[in-house]
Symmetry: C2
Subunit: 215 residues, 2 copies
C-alpha cells in the first residue's frame, strides 16, 4: 500500500469550482513570487550587505506566513472533476515553488505537459539535471497510469533512458498507457525539446491490494 498515487480512499475534502478559482487566484501569484525568488537566489550577484538584508526580509515574510499554518498539506478534490488538486505536489503543485509547475492536459490517450525549466533546475552547464527529468517523467507516467490520480496505483519500477542532454528552456513531456496486465499498468513517456526526444521512460504501476479487495 506504499507509494499510492491516486484513488478515492484518500481523505480529501471537496472544493467547488468557484472556490477552486478563488483559491487559485490567491495562491498562484504567491507561489510564482516564491519561484522567482528561488531563481533570484541562484543567480544573484549583489553585495554581502544586500544579501543579508534580503535574508532578513525573507525571514520576516516566512514568520508572517507561518503564523497560521497546516501541520501537513491539505489535499482537496475538485467537486466537478473528481481530481485531487495536489496543491503541494513538487511536480504540479500550484502552491509549491519547487514545482515548475507542470500543467497537465489530456489529449485522447496522451497525457501532455509543456513547461519551461530555468537555472534552478540545472545540472550540467545549460542542461536540466537528470534527476529533474526523472521527477517530471515519474509524475506524468503516474498521472497516465492512475487516470489523472483518480485510480489508486503505486509505482513499482521506472526506467529512464537518457538519449542526450535536455537543454534548459521550453520542454514538453508526454505519457501514455502502453498496456495493462492484471494488476499491472505499463506506462511509457518521453521528454522532448524542440529537436526531439531527450529522455525515454518506462514505468510499471500496480493496483494496491486494498483496492483489489474492494472490487
Amino acid at each position: 500500500m506504499a507509494e499510492v498515487i491516486g484513488g478515492p480512499e484518500w481523505p480529501f475534502d471537496e472544493v467547488s469550482g468557484e472556490e477552486y478559482a478563488r483559491l487559485s487566484a490567491l495562491y498562484e501569484p504567491l507561489t510564482q513570487a516564491i519561484r522567482d525568488l528561488v531563481d533570484a537566489g541562484v543567480r544573484t550577484g549583489v553585495d554581502d550587505e544586500t544579501i543579508t538584508r534580503a535574508r532578513e526580509a525573507i525571514e520576516a515574510v516566512t514568520q508572517t506566513l507561518s503564523s497560521r499554518r497546516h501541520d501537513r498539506t491539505h489535499t482537496l478534490r475538485h467537486a466537478d472533476t473528481g481530481r485531487p488538486l495536489a496543491w503541494a505536489n513538487p511536480a504540479v503543485g500550484l502552491r509549491n515553488a519547487i514545482a515548475p509547475p507542470m500543467r497537465i492536459e489530456r489529449d485522447n490517450g496522451l497525457w501532455v505537459s509543456e513547461f519551461s525549466l530555468g537555472a534552478a533546475y540545472e545540472g550540467p552547464p545549460n542542461l536540466v539535471h537528470g534527476g529533474i527529468c526523472a521527477l517530471v517523467l515519474d509524475h506524468l507516467l503516474g498521472e497516465a497510469a492512475s487516470n489523472g490520480l483518480t485510480e489508486p496505483k503505486f509505482t513499482g519500477t521506472i526506467t529512464l533512458r537518457y538519449l542526450r542532454g535536455t537543454p534548459l528552456g521550453a520542454l514538453r513531456a508526454e505519457a501514455w498507457i502502453d498496456r495493462t496486465d492484471g494488476v499491472k499498468t505499463f506506462a511509457r513517456g518521453v521528454l522532448r525539446d524542440a529537436d526531439g526526444v531527450t529522455v525515454e521512460a518506462d514505468g510499471i504501476f500496480i493496483r494496491p491490494s486494498w483496492a483489489r479487495v474492494a472490487e
Copy 2:
C-alpha cells in the same frame, strides 16, 4: 556528449578554501531562508490580505537580488579538493532552495547523504514524491560514478524500484560503483528510512567519447 556530469573540461574558475568558506557563510543562510519560505508557502493558512502583502514583500526582495545577477549560474571548483561546488544544483546546491540540500560524504567506496525532506517534497500523503526519490538517487549514483563529479560521465540509463513508500522526514541515501566495463560504469544505490530500504536504484554511466580520445 550529453548529460555530462563531471570532468576537468568544464569551464570552472577555481576558488580558494578561504573564499569558499566566506561565500558559503554568505549564501547558505540566504538559501535556507528561501527554503523555509517555500515550506511556509506550501503550508500557510493566513488570510487573503496577508498573502497579498507577503507576495508584495517577496517581489521586492526578488527585485533587489536581481539588480545584479548572472545570466547563467557560475560554477566554481574548489582549489584544495578539485571538486566543483555545484552551488546551483537542485540536489546538492548550497545556493538552490529547491535542493534539500544533500550533503555528500565519502565512506570508503560508499557515497552517503543524510537529509530530511518536508512538506515541499510530498507526493502521496505523508510520503516523499517518487520523482524526488529519483532525483536524490540519480544525483548520488552520478556522484559515485563520476568520483564526486571529477571524472566526466554521462547518465545512460537509471532504473528505480520502489519497494514501499518513503516517509517524509529523516532519510539516508547510499551509492556505490558495482562494476566497470570499458566505457560503462555500473552504479547502484538505495534510499533508506529508519526501517530499511524504500527504493533501490541501478544506473549505467558512460565516459564520453571526447574524454576517451583525450586519454
